[in-house]
């Protein structure tokens, strides 16, 4: 019987604003505890929240980029629960009127593009950080140390619908989302710094079942690798339970990185009663169409847009994906060059493979300004016209990087122009044939790998300037 896993991802993105979400305290990156605090983010009596405009602009931009509808008349809600790192023992969040709803994000899989439906995008504030003292494990700590520097930092929560079907999809989704927030410039997106955190909701059901299985939440996955492993483990665990007719408890489980298992944390018991109600300290938040349109205008070219453009030039999915994620100058250079050459493959290979590699090797950080699309297109056109081999093209490029040369002139004066004339090449092929009769015989007897040797001989005797593929063809014809 086929078990179908269903996964929903909940992701929190830390915004890179100057100040916190509801107060002017600076967002800081420091080991010194409790140095960026005020009555509001410390939860002192009498303090009040005042929301950050940049944070709202950022979340609106993110929601729009994820094709969400933006809520014009929204509000903030208090999510009530007691925990030492939550200063007010309620978190200011959004409940039924989040900034963005019903969106989608494209993800790249081996099989092609998949669309992940997004349920909601909402604004909230981060909590402080806890450090457990004692033996280092949560359940045998002797005390907990609290640092509230992070309390109040703006967080955007993105929740997908339960539509993800595998761990690979989940990873791809997170990669896509991460790239998006980086491209939008709203977050650093560094997993290791906690700029992006995620939990997974996983259930398994028998194929054909109309209802989804019991949902289990998995927390504490700190990298994409642990995300993939945790999901795979959990799917296996739930599948085993279902197959042996055992009950799956709806709960929150903790991914143990060392043991590589998920373990029970606390019983979700249905779900906690957060007693959401609209925060009376924060009046209705009106996002006008004008505001939304202004944000739309600010959206830079996104990974999915880039990918589309690149695919239109003829590149494959993985090539487009790779180039779309590269630095903007390479992406722009490719497009400009491609317009001139009208070719995608050679242009792609020369720019992404060769150019990047050579710059790195020569330890050149910035592309010299004379290495532009015109000069590059000259090289590429020569290659594609069979005037020079790809290898020779690499040589021209190397020199172009170092000096402001004219590629065509350089190729000519350095004897790189290859012979394409059939008759000329035939002559050379015949000569080499004659001079290597034994080898020819051995090839005819079955030693096919010696063809390469003969091709080498042909090229050598020509001084390196004949078209190797023509040579090979003619040689094979002779054989």
């Amino acid at each position: 019987m086929n078990m179908i896993p269903t996964i929903g991802m909940e992701t929190h993105v830390e915004l890179n604003t100057n100040s916190k979400m509801f107060c002017n305290c600076p967002v800081v990156e420091t080991e010194d505890p409790n140095i960026s605090l005020c009555p509001t983010c410390l939860g002192l009596p009498g303090a009040l929240p005042v929301p950050n405009l940049k944070a709202i602009e950022s979340i609106t931009m993110l929601a729009l980029s994820a094709n969400c509808s933006i809520t014009n008349n929204g509000m903030f809600h208090r999510k009530n629960y007691f925990y030492p790192d939550l200063p007010k023992n309620y978190q200011i969040s959004q409940f039924d009127l989040p900034v963005g709803v019903n969106g989608s994000l494209e993800i790249i899989l081996d099989e092609g593009i998949e669309t992940v439906e997004i349920e909601r995008v909402h604004m909230e504030e981060d909590t402080g950080k806890s450090k457990h003292k004692g033996s280092g494990r949560i359940d045998s700590a002797t005390s907990t140390l609290l640092d509230f520097n992070r309390s109040g930092v703006p967080l955007v929560e993105i929740v997908t619908k339960p539509v993800i079907k595998s761990s690979k999809e989940a990873v791809s989704y997170i990669e896509e989302l991460r790239q998006l927030v980086i491209d939008l410039g709203i977050s650093e997106g560094k997993l290791e710094k906690g700029n992006l955190r995620f939990d997974a909701n996983i259930s398994v059901a028998k194929e054909g079942d109309k209802e989804l299985g019991v949902k289990v939440e998995i927390k504490n996955m700190n990298s994409l690798r642990s995300l993939e492993k945790a999901i795979d483990f959990e799917i296996k665990r739930q599948t085993k339970l279902i197959e042996s007719n055992e009950e799956i408890i709806q709960e929150t489980r903790h991914w143990d990185e060392d043991k590589e298992v998920t373990s029970s944390m606390r019983s979700k018991e249905g779900s906690a009663d957060y007693r959401y109600f609209s925060d009376p300290d924060l009046p209705n938040m009106i996002l006008t169409d004008e505001f939304i349109n202004n944000i739309k205008k600010e959206i830079p070219t996104l990974p999915s847009d880039k990918r589309k453009k690149l695919i239109d030039t003829g590149l494959s999915m993985s090539e487009s994906n790779h180039l779309g994620k590269s630095e903007v100058w390479i992406y722009d250079l490719y497009l400009d060059t491609q317009k001139l050459t009208n070719d995608c493959k050679t242009t792609y290979n020369l720019i992404t493979g060769e150019l990047q590699g050579q710059l790195r090797k020569a330890e050149i950080e910035n592309l010299p300004e004379w290495v532009n699309s015109e000069r590059l297109s000259e090289i590429i056109t020569m290659i594609n016209d069979n005037k020079i081999s790809f290898t020779s093209g690499k040589e021209v490029l190397t020199n172009l990087i170092q000096n402001e040369i004219n590629p065509t002139d350089f190729a000519e004066s350095n004897n790189l122009i290859q012979e394409n004339d059939f008759d000329e090449i035939s002559k050379i092929v015949k000569d080499v044939f004659e001079a290597n009769k034994e080898v020819v015989q051995r090839i005819k007897d079955g030693e096919e790998k010696l063809v390469g040797f003969l091709v080498g001989q042909i090229i050598k005797s020509s001084g390196g300037n004949i078209n190797p593929s023509i040579a090979k063809d003619l040689l094979l014809k002779e054989l």
């Binding site: 009498g46 303090a47 009040l48 005042v50 009663d273 109600f277 300290d281 009046p283």
Partner: protein
């Protein structure tokens, strides 16, 4: 001259004419405190050294003609749920008995900049929950008119100090009547501004959508002067409103409405009588007085006693022993929090937190809190409709004059009933003022309440001042003589 019952403008004139010094006035109010505190227990803390120092600085300013404002050198007491930097803000609770505030509330910054001399912090019902100051963890305040009677609440201390002259004026806070009711019980003026006109930043929140800070004073003019000094849009308070004021034209032709439902059962004859007498005065002056109906007053109490506890249940969640305040032992942090809150909160506070938690909980939200919100907006609409026909509203401030200690502590509803007349203004965010009008047969103060549309505070104060002159209740009694 009985200084402590003089008006701010009178005293300011004397300061400017160098006939009187701020330090002299401070000395007198401090002496009044020394005489009265052991009986009425209105101040939780007296700032003797600080008060002397501040008043001396004020002396110097007046000597140079460099006074900061009309409030310079005026001694004012502050309710102990308003943060004053480097002083305890206890909210009359064991939970915060040792909490020293690291910041000033916005209203305090404004008063400091005006040169006000703070006399100290005054007693209240714990976390502003109550109508008698009997819920203070540090002992009740006694009504200066008769110490066997309550001073009202929750700003009982603030009202008592003005009544007895241990401050020239005070700040209180009003969520369901907590400025107006104690002012009424103590025979002084109490003004609750339009919601949002005075910043709540630094006021320990009870019910965020209902709370407002306001002045308790000897006269309406004093209330006006203090209000003008503390009002204003505050970027630190998202609920504070822009400084737009709406004027009601011409007092003489102002039309006044008497709220029918607040002149029926549940209101004592004496209280109704004060309203009738006041109406007559108004009519004699040429104002038209009509009867109006606000049928939803019957559920106003229920609405309030769902919304206020719900909001307070979340507002008081921060008191957990983690970052400040008292702390009890617990093996885990959750147990520590549970024990801290069990020990730190008094009964009434616990009651309201639990009621609020319940009203918000899964399965009950729609019937209780959700319903209360809907009904509240109906009340707001009703008021808007009534104000199309009348300019001001008049009603009793309280159903009865000040009751005796222990009289209303048996049945939870009885105490809540004392907020009957004051709650509607909080629900609709309207400005409202209590003006003393006379004395009861038991020699306890009586009053009337005036209300007006949102943002018409200055008109309400102007109208009330005229009415106050007509009433000319001389509450400048020698309460202190009796105490000596």
């Amino acid at each position: 001259m009985n200084l402590s019952n003089s008006s701010i403008s009178e005293i300011n004139k004397l300061y400017k004419n160098k006939e009187l010094k701020p330090s002299e006035v401070y000395e007198e109010v401090f002496n009044n405190a020394a005489l009265s505190e052991s009986i009425i227990h209105a101040h939780l803390k007296l700032f003797q050294e600080e008060g002397i120092a501040a008043s001396k600085l004020s002396d110097a300013r007046f000597a140079k003609g460099k006074q900061l404002s009309q409030l310079d050198g005026i001694p004012i007491a502050i309710k102990d749920n308003i943060n004053l930097k480097n002083h305890e803000t206890t909210c009359s609770s064991k939970m915060l008995s040792n909490y020293i505030s690291p910041y000033d509330a916005t209203v305090i910054s404004k008063l400091r900049n005006s040169g006000v001399v703070f006399t100290g912090k005054t007693n209240l019902d714990e976390f502003a929950m109550g109508s008698s100051t009997e819920n203070s963890a540090f002992g009740p305040t006694k009504n200066p008119w008769n110490p066997q009677h309550v001073p009202g609440g929750s700003s009982g201390g603030s009202a008592a100090v003005v009544s007895v002259g241990s401050a020239l004026a005070s700040l209180g806070s009003d969520t369901g009547g907590s400025i107006r009711q104690p002012a009424s019980f103590c025979g002084v003026v109490g003004f609750k501004p339009t919601y949002g006109t005075v910043s709540r930043y630094g006021l320990v929140a009870f019910a965020s959508s209902l709370d407002q800070i306001g002045p308790i004073t000897n006269s309406v003019e004093d209330a006006k002067i203090i209000f003008n000094s503390i009002k204003g849009h505050d970027p630190l308070d998202s609920t504070s409103i822009a400084d737009t004021s709406i004027e009601i034209p011409d007092d003489k032709t102002a039309k006044v409405g008497v709220i029918k439902e607040l002149m029926e059962d549940g209101i004592s004859d004496e209280s109704k009588n004060e309203v009738e007498k006041t109406i007559k005065l108004l009519e004699d002056q040429g104002n038209k007085v009509v009867e109006v109906s606000l049928p939803l007053t019957k559920v106003a109490l229920s609405i309030y006693y769902l919304i206020a506890p719900a909001e307070c249940s979340a507002n008081l969640s921060r008191f957990d022993g983690v970052r400040y305040g008292s702390r009890e032992f617990g093996e885990t942090s959750y147990q520590m929090m549970e024990n801290t809150r069990a020990q730190g909160f008094g009964e009434e506070v616990k009651k309201r937190i639990l009621l609020g938690t319940y009203a918000l909980s899964a399965g009950y939200y729609d019937a209780y809190y959700g319903q209360a919100l809907k009904a509240r907006s109906l009340i707001t609409k009703d008021f808007e409709n009534i104000f199309k026909d009348v300019d001001y509203l008049i009603s009793p401030t309280t159903p009865t004059p000040a009751f005796k200690f222990g009289e209303k502590t048996e049945n939870p509803l009885e105490m809540y009933m004392s907020d009957l007349c004051t709650i509607p203004a909080n629900l609709a965010g309207l400005p409202a003022i209590s003006i003393p009008t006379g004395l009861s047969s038991e020699n306890m103060p009586l009053s009337v309440q005036l209300m007006s549309p949102a943002r018409t505070d200055s008109s309400l104060l102007k109208f009330s001042e005229k009415l106050e002159n007509l009433i000319s209740f001389d509450q400048r009694t020698s309460l202190l003589k009796e105490m000596k």
